[in-house]
């Protein structure tokens, strides 16, 4: 997937010292960085600290960015490494402070039946259950399932093989699935749970 020319141009300008261009990159990518850091560290204050560190580091190393590579992959690599380092140093906080939900206006996409899933409840469940994952397992799950990145991209971001990514993902999904079934059965609407035959 090719980088859009806008971000490439801003990267070039920022690498040459253009603070305005760098500010635009920060504005464009900060939600992605904070969200990823939050899902890995489980704490918003930690996520903000990580995000600051990520962008400061980005400013320092931007001139070394290879335009032949995807910027997001590079940024995920810096973010995940910083979040994992932070988690290892500080340890999980255990506080549950969900992110904001998507605005309601965006949700009105047509007549859809049924109860809306409570993202707050989902976030609480994830933070609690994800604390049982290894840091790499958690990072892989966040990048693959929440951020929707490709296996190859995750492997590049984490500096591991695709096979390792698949293995981490398999383990993470198993642990989370067991946790949901045991502790959060309410997340799955009744009547269609596995084994109910409907």
């Amino acid at each position: 997937m090719r980088e859009d020319s806008g971000i490439s141009e801003r990267i070039r300008a920022a690498a040459a010292g253009d603070r305005e261009a760098f500010g635009a990159i920060v504005r464009e990518k900060r939600a992605q960085v904070v969200r990823t850091a939050f899902q890995i560290t489980g704490d918003m204050e930690d996520a903000k600290d990580v995000a600051q560190g990520v962008f400061l580091r980005l400013w320092k190393v931007l001139s070394r960015f290879d335009p032949g590579r995807r910027f997001d992959t590079w940024l995920y690599r810096i973010t995940v490494n910083a979040a994992i380092d932070h988690l290892r140093q500080a340890g999980p906080k255990g506080t549950i402070q969900p992110l904001s939900a998507v605005p309601d206006a965006e949700a009105e996409t047509g007549p859809v039946p049924g109860r809306r899933l409570d993202l707050l409840e989902l976030q609480r469940a994830f933070l609690r259950l994800a604390a049982r994952l290894g840091t790499k397992q958690r990072a892989v799950f966040v990048l693959k399932e929440i951020e929707g990145r490709e296996t190859a991209e995750i492997a590049e971001s984490l500096g591991v093989t695709e096979s390792t990514v698949r293995n981490h993902l398999h383990q993470a999904r198993r642990i989370l699935r067991e946790g949901i079934e045991r502790e959060y059965p309410g997340l799955v609407p009744p009547g269609v749970r596995k084994g109910n035959g409907s």
């Binding site: 997937m1 320092k60 998507v102 996409t109 049924g114 989902l122 596995k194």
Partner: protein
């Protein structure tokens, strides 16, 4: 999005289509139930819809802007950015100190150079090249130590 979505919704690449599919899943209990029956943990994909508060994002931007200071990109702490830990120059200093102590311990105490005599036998030169490299040439008696500090070196 008008129709219902299948498990492929989880595998869509990031973008408007994936977002629309996830929003549908969030709002449509039958679709959610169908997918969750097999892989309930994949419901966590819906957390992609959760966004950090705007105030938190602004705080990050402000903090980054204020901490950038006057630094230009790529010029901050070249040692660390090149993968050379801060400990390298410290280790060099410690090694040098140990060497000097070892030299001082050689032979009978009466043969060791006196403190007053040492400066005349020690010669330290620091050369700064056109680049960022520093060459430290230290001569103590017949022992010569040359240290090159070059942040451009990839070790």
């Amino acid at each position: 999005m008008s129709g219902h979505v299948g498990p492929e919704a989880f595998d869509l690449a990031p973008g408007p289509d994936r977002r629309a599919a996830l929003v549908h899943l969030r709002d449509c209990a039958p679709c959610r139930a169908r997918l969750a029956a097999e892989d309930p943990e994949r419901l966590f994909a819906l957390l992609a819809l959760a966004e950090p508060a705007a105030s938190d994002l602004e705080e990050v931007s402000r903090a980054v802007a204020s901490r950038l200071g006057d630094a230009r990109p790529g010029r901050i702490e070249a040692w660390r950015e090149r993968g050379l830990p801060r400990a390298v120059p410290v280790a060099a200093a410690v090694a040098l100190f140990a060497l000097l102590v070892t030299l001082g311990d050689r032979g009978p105490v009466r043969d060791a150079p006196s403190v007053a005599a040492l400066p005349s036998r020690a010669d330290v030169r620091v050369t700064e090249t056109a680049g960022a490299a520093h060459v430290v040439d230290l001569t103590v008696g017949e022992t010569q130590i040359v240290m090159i500090f070059d942040p451009g070196l990839e070790l």
